[in-house]
């Protein structure tokens, strides 16, 4: 009988370790499947990896936008365990607002460099504020009254909000995709590195995203409000007892998520040079996939996940076809949620076991 427990002990531990190993590296392998497959194809067809390189660069800039949106999902989920389904629409409306502000500021592709930079900086701030206040308002109207209700109730209202906001988009710009002025000449070739063409759009996406993510990270890590956020995320009840105003902290979280989504909205308008009321739906789901992939609640994870999904999207758009991209990303979503719900670098949730 002693022997039995002795042998069963390590074997059980080992099986868990094996599962951990398989699920981590299996997922990584799965994520690498597309780049590897098309890398091999490129090498045998062209003898170089230029095409794949271009896909990756495009994916990276997609990923920057997705990362900014994913931050909103991850922050909110981290603090109230709610999938803010309307977050994609907050991004979409940020995009619509940005495009509308082009005209307000009189920006056209002919505007000079200085005017363009100043104008876009102003638009960036305004778009961020629009999305942020919208996100805060959504929380007040649709989620706060349901705090303490069964967990699925706020998710259902979130879905409802998402449809309402989509239709706000429809009323605003109509139901079809709308081209917006290509202010930056986003397709304009900037430099070429190892046969990979880098455009202005690529640089813009990365150049806006990195400082914002750094700012957000340091805010959450260092500021008093950031600490309140983390405390609330850990244990709302204890945070309340410690004198933290939980409602304010939750509003702040929605505010931060909205700010990031607004920035993503402007980048998207500049980079895609088109806006659409439905752009938030798939972008939102991709970004949510990114957040889960990185480990929901984890800021760095959201950025990593955004980049990964962006690259998958970039490769799929160019190689398999636009129409298939959602299906492919959603297959990844299902696989991650089922086999590794804690994400690539997340920890297991509170209730282990």
């Amino acid at each position: 009988m002693e022997a039995a427990t002795v042998t069963s002990a390590p074997s059980r531990r080992r099986s868990e370790a094996v599962w951990e190993f398989i699920s981590t590296y299996g997922l990584i392998l799965l994520l690498l499947a597309l780049p590897i497959r098309y890398g091999i194809q490129d090498l045998s067809d062209d003898g170089n990896l230029n095409r794949l390189g271009n896909n990756l660069v495009e994916g990276l800039s997609n990923g920057a936008v997705l990362a900014l949106i994913a931050l909103g999902y991850t922050l909110v989920y981290g603090i109230i365990e709610l999938i803010n389904f309307a977050h994609g629409e907050v991004f979409m409306l940020g995009s619509l607002a940005s495009a509308a502000l082009y005209a307000t500021f009189g920006l056209t592709p002919a505007t000079g460099a200085a005017g363009l930079v100043l104008g876009l900086a102003a638009i960036l701030i305004l778009a961020m504020m629009v999305s942020a206040s919208l996100n805060v308002m959504i929380e007040r109207v649709a989620y706060r009254p349901l705090r303490g209700a069964p967990k699925l109730a706020p998710l259902i209202t979130a879905v409802g909000m998402s449809f309402i906001l989509q239709n706000v988009g429809v009323l605003w710009i109509g139901a079809s995709q709308k081209a917006v002025p290509d202010l930056l000449g986003s397709q304009k070739h900037l430099i070429e590195i190892w046969g990979v063409s880098i455009t202005r759009g690529h640089v813009l996406a990365i150049a806006v995203t990195i400082p914002l993510v750094l700012l957000l990270t340091s805010f959450v890590a260092r500021s008093r409000l950031g600490k309140a956020m983390r405390a609330t995320a850990q244990d709302p009840e204890a945070a309340r007892l410690m004198g933290i105003n939980v409602d304010t902290t939750i509003s702040l979280t929605f505010l931060l998520g909205g700010l990031m989504a607004g920035a993503a909205g402007l980048i998207s308008a500049l980079y895609q040079t088109s806006i659409w009321y439905f752009q938030g739906f798939s972008a939102g789901l991709y970004a949510f996939t990114a957040a889960v992939m990185g480990g929901i609640g984890n800021i760095r994870g959201a950025v990593l996940g955004g980049v990964i999904i962006g690259i998958i999207q970039g490769i799929s758009d160019n190689r398999i076809g636009n129409d298939w991209t959602p299906a492919i990303v959603f297959v990844y979503l299902v696989i991650i949620m089922v086999f590794r719900p804690q994400g690539l670098i997340g920890e297991e949730t509170r209730e282990a076991g």
Partner: protein, 394 residues
């Protein structure tokens, strides 16, 4: 007690109202023209009652939030596209395969099966799909279940929308992609013969009414059974249910399978009624359309869901396009200089309803009996449902 209250307390009054209502529902198309807009909308409403009852099994009874119900709509319709049209025109040396079809259809190439076989096929396919979609969600928490089912719904819709690029069984396409598959065979029933939706809609109405009655019967039987109690126990407290001997995996999968089967039944009816199938119909919005019916009526409440499905169908197919976007309102709005059509914001209306219901009246318009009766004393025999409701209202 007032006379009205007395009347409402009397169960016979309820029975009388139910009988009269039933007769009115069954006979109203006789008083309408054969090709009537109202009959058309009523047929759709009843088909969606079947769908909503199916989703209610999963979301209302078992408490599993399924946001991908469009998958079963897609499979149900595709079953008719595959097996009741000339889609597989090359089978059997282009002579086709025919089972229980009318003389005319029997001369066409492709696979052509009778409605009853289509329904059985759709039940089998959708129940299997339900189990396959349910399997990965078994260990997940509620909100993750919602997203995974949503993802499956989108994957399936996408695959059908791009199905012209997918080949199965040799060089057959999976679907016509964004091109329609049409025409779908008209319904052909023993005794009643072949329907013709171009000249008379009423047979379709009575057929779908019969389907609704069968599905309601099954729904009530399931609710008041060992399985139904297990679903509700699961919804209330998974841990306690498991500890009382309810097998979680089997019980959850049965709810997905049964819910999917209902969706398939409705789809197999709607294919012939629409007479053409287009993968563009398979959108996430459809899942929300059906979910809104369930929530509006009352999660878990059978009659509530019927009410929710009928009212939202009429909002969608009559109130918005015919009334709000009709000439009268249109004219008023135009004179105010407002240029907008309500049809564009249909889903915003459903979204608004979802938010409104969850915030103000989460139990729905006609709440489940369990949530409705606050106090009843004693307990009657097995079928005390009606009495209890009347007591509660009195």
């Amino acid at each position: 007690m007032s006379r009205v209250a007395q009347l409402r307390r009397d169960p016979r009054a309820g029975v009388a109202i139910a009988v009269l209502g039933g007769i009115a529902v069954a006979l109203f198309p006789l008083f309408r023209p054969p090709l009537d807009g109202l009959t058309n909308d009523a047929i759709l409403a009843l088909a969606f009652v079947v769908m909503a009852l199916g989703l209610n099994l999963v979301v209302g009874f078992a408490g599993l939030l399924d946001l991908g119900y469009v998958a079963f709509y897609a499979f149900g319709l595709m079953v008719t596209g595959w097996w009741a049209s000339d889609f597989f025109s090359s089978v059997n040396d282009e002579k086709g395969i025919h089972v229980g079809t009318s003389d005319f259809v029997s001369s066409l190439p492709g696979i052509h099966l009778n409605l009853l076989l289509l329904i059985i096929g759709a039940i089998v396919i959708c129940a299997t799909a339900g189990i396959l979609i349910g399997l990965p969600t078994l260990r997940l928490r509620g909100d993750y279940i919602a997203i995974v089912t949503l993802a499956f719904g989108e994957i399936i819709s996408r695959v059908f929308a791009n199905g012209d690029e997918v080949t199965i069984f040799g060089d057959n396409k999976l679907s016509n992609g964004r091109q329609s598959i049409s025409p779908i065979d008209q319904i052909n029933l023993p005794i009643f013969g072949e329907f013709d939706s171009a000249t008379d809609l009423r047979p379709y109405y009575w057929a779908v009414l019969a389907l609704v009655l069968v599905v309601l019967f099954v729904d009530f039987r399931l609710r008041d059974s060992r399985l139904g109690r297990a679903w509700i126990a699961l919804r209330e407290d998974e841990v306690a249910a498991a500890s009382m001997g309810v097998p979680l995996v089997k019980t959850k999968l049965l709810s997905y399978a049964a819910g999917g089967a209902f969706g398939g039944i409705s789809g197999a009816f709607l294919g012939p009624f629409f007479s053409s199938i287009n993968a563009n119909q398979f959108q996430f919005g459809f899942s929300i359309f059906i979910l809104a019916m369930v929530i509006l009526g009352g999660l878990g409440s059978v009659w509530g869901v019927v009410l929710g499905a009928v009212s939202l169908s009429f909002v969608n197919y009559w109130l918005i396009p015919d009334v709000l976007d009709g000439e009268f309102v249109r004219g008023k709005l135009d004179s105010l200089g407002l240029e907008f059509s309500f049809s564009e914001v249909t889903f915003g209306v459903f979204g608004f309803l979802l938010v409104l219901m969850m915030v103000l009246r989460p139990e729905g318009l006609l709440p489940e009996r369990r949530r409705q009766i606050e106090l009843t004393s004693g307990e009657g025999p097995l079928d005390d449902t009606k009495a209890a409701v009347f007591e509660a209202r009195a």
